[in-house]
């Protein structure tokens, strides 16, 4: 696996032009070819889609659960459907998009494996980011305090969190193998949300990365 990690550090991030954009959005931006067709599943207020449209000339679509999010997208001129990743992906045809993005959402789906399979079916590539449950702070909360972790990226107590399927970066790599996804690029983000610069072994990423970001395609 360390052979994979050697080529993983995201290149060419527009670090000098971050503006007010979220760093993890800029990481995704760096993975998307200009002019491509993109579906953002769980697109929230549409800020990533708007960024992709304005900076990459992307033809973007979105799915969002909350009506407030959908309304914000409508006002930005983004074609976004009020819907649910668990139920609505099945209706999309094969190869409809160049990229399907699932940002910080897979751990909140009922069937992460089925969702991931749909992403790889609908899109030629999938971009998946998620909070790393293997981060050292998470581990230490469990190990030392014996409590379900509450951290910056996992801020809700266990009884209120929407995240029902936590996984570590290593777990996700395992799922990719199960569904036959090829990992084209991957990176871990540090506590400030910036990609970790150097090619490090997986166990390091799994320990110090707060988020994993993966670019996948069908194997």
């Amino acid at each position: 696996m360390s052979a994979v990690s050697a080529s993983l550090a995201p290149a060419g991030l527009p670090q000098d032009a971050t503006g007010s954009s979220r760093v993890d959005h800029l990481v995704v931006l760096g993975l998307v070819e200009p002019g491509s067709r993109v579906l953002d599943v769980g697109c929230g207020d549409g800020s990533l889609l708007a960024l992709l449209r304005d900076r990459r000339g992307v033809d973007g679509r979105g799915i969002e659960l909350s009506r407030q999010g959908v309304n914000a997208c409508l006002a930005l001129g983004l074609p976004v459907i009020q819907g649910d990743a668990d139920t609505d992906l099945a209706a999309y045809p094969d190869d409809a998009f160049d990229y399907v993005i699932l940002s910080q959402t897979i751990q909140a789906t009922r069937q992460p494996k089925v969702v991931l399979e749909h992403l790889l079916r609908i899109g030629r590539r999938a971009i998946v980011s998620f909070p790393n449950f293997g981060h050292w702070r998470v581990r230490s909360e469990l190990l030392l305090r014996g409590r379900m972790p509450v951290t910056d990226i996992l801020p809700d107590p266990w009884y209120e969190t929407p995240n029902i399927h936590h996984c570590t970066i290593r777990d996700f790599v395992g799922l990719c193998r199960v569904v036959g996804a090829r990992i084209e690029r991957a990176s871990a983000l540090d506590a400030s949300g910036h990609p970790m610069r150097f090619a490090l072994p997986w166990w390091v990423w799994n320990l110090v990365g707060t988020q994993g970001v993966f670019l996948l395609r069908r194997g």
């Binding site: 009506r67 959908v70 001129g77 459907i81 045809p93």
Partner: protein
């Protein structure tokens, strides 16, 4: 009660023949080619406009009305004196902003507010068409509207918008004339009429046919109106426009102007009184035969069937941007119907937005003050306007 009713009935009938709205008249050599295989000629279409057409003729909005609606979308109704039926959405500063857009709303073919329909005079006989009028389809309505736009010199629409049967017309517009529709908003509608909806319509039609004053559809010749039958049809249909929670909230089991049940079939309950009122006021403004024809048009609507059974084929290659809207408590056109449209548009790679508005007001919600609907419409239309350069 009888005198004003009769007077209004006469006013409604006169609107069918001599409407107060502007009318576009099409002569014998400009027929409306109807799906029934008939060339309707001469024929006319009554319409209202609001706002100003810009020099580029790029800001036209067509509002499509529902089953018992009419062209008076944003102006006082000439028969009832009530405000326009969609003034919450259409007007100065509203989402369909008449300060920016040129709004057209035309009475559909087969209706009774000035556009040719069964209450119009058949030039071949000098009497009202009655059942001699050809069966009307949603596609016929849209063809008629397209001919009106041609007459007005409007090549394409910035926006086509409507709810219920109006939403069916919007979908038909997008399928029949994709190059003429920049943005489309079908609200609380479906790409086909369900078996349950056809069933309710059939009950309404049978009520009209069973009224002895219907006279085989020739009631205008003998100076009667099937008011009972049409009223019952409206009462039944009105229930389908509401929802159980809305009925309960508005009426519950409360009694009408009395302290105890009368042990009779008088309107003891408020809901009975309300429905009777709905029936009576509807009869004042609507023609019974038009009701038969327009309910039939909705029943026949099945956009997928017109395209090899695949709804996505109706929108193949479209460049129109869509915003679909449904309401959680609408059981006449439930959210599943809207989702079927969304899925078809996705399959056709069309840009589509979809909003399900939380409401307990049933199908009628699209006509009512639903802030979530209005804000979503405002966002979509304003963004489309920017893309259109308006």
């Amino acid at each position: 009660m009888a005198t004003p009713l009769l007077k209004s009935g006469i006013e409604a009938a006169s609107q069918a023949v001599e409407p107060t709205s502007p009318v576009a008249r099409f002569a014998a050599d400009e027929p409306l080619a109807m799906d029934a295989g008939v060339d309707l000629a001469p024929w006319q279409i009554a319409y209202q406009t609001a706002g100003t057409l810009n020099a580029a003729r790029s800001n036209a909005v067509l509002v499509c009305h529902a089953l018992t609606g009419d062209q008076h979308v944003a102006n006082t109704h000439p028969v009832t004196g009530k405000p326009g039926w969609w003034e919450r959405l259409v007007g100065p500063g509203k989402p369909v902003d008449t300060d920016r857009y040129f709004v057209i709303c035309a009475n559909v073919v087969g209706s009774c507010m000035g556009t040719t329909g069964p209450a119009s005079i058949n030039p071949a006989t000098g009497r009202a068409y009655g059942l001699d009028f050809p069966l009307v389809t949603v596609r016929d309505m849209v063809r008629g509207q397209a001919m009106l736009l041609d007459r007005l010199g409007i090549k394409d629409l910035f926006l086509c918008i409507g709810g219920s049967m109006g939403g069916m017309q919007v979908l038909q517009w997008a399928a029949s004339y994709p190059e003429r529709v920049f943005a489309a908003m079908p609200i609380a509608t479906g790409a086909r009429h369900s078996a349950q909806n056809i069933a309710f319509h059939e009950v309404g039609r049978q009520a009209i046919l069973a009224d002895p004053n219907w006279h085989g559809g020739r009631y205008l010749d003998v100076g009667t109106r099937p008011a009972k039958g049409l009223g019952v049809a409206r009462m039944g249909a009105h229930i389908t426009y509401l929802s159980e929670p809305a009925l309960h909230r508005k009426f519950g089991r409360r009694l009408q102007d009395r302290d105890a049940p009368t042990f009779s079939f008088d309107a003891d309950f408020q809901i009975e009184s309300y429905l009777r009122h709905q029936g009576i006021t509807f009869v004042e403004r609507f023609d019974a035969n038009a009701y038969l024809y327009l309910t039939r048009a909705m029943d026949y609507f099945d956009l997928a069937a017109d395209h090899g059974g695949v709804l996505a084929n109706a929108f193949r290659g479209t460049r129109t941007r869509f915003c679909i809207m449904s309401f959680t408590s609408d059981w006449l056109f439930p959210t599943a119907d809207s989702r079927a449209i969304v899925h078809a548009l996705n399959a056709a790679a069309a840009p589509v937005a979809f909003v399900e508005v939380e409401s307990d007001k049933g199908h009628d919600a699209f006509l009512l003050d639903e802030p979530a609907m209005i804000s979503a419409a405002r966002g979509f239309i304003a963004a489309a306007g920017r893309e259109r350069g308006l």
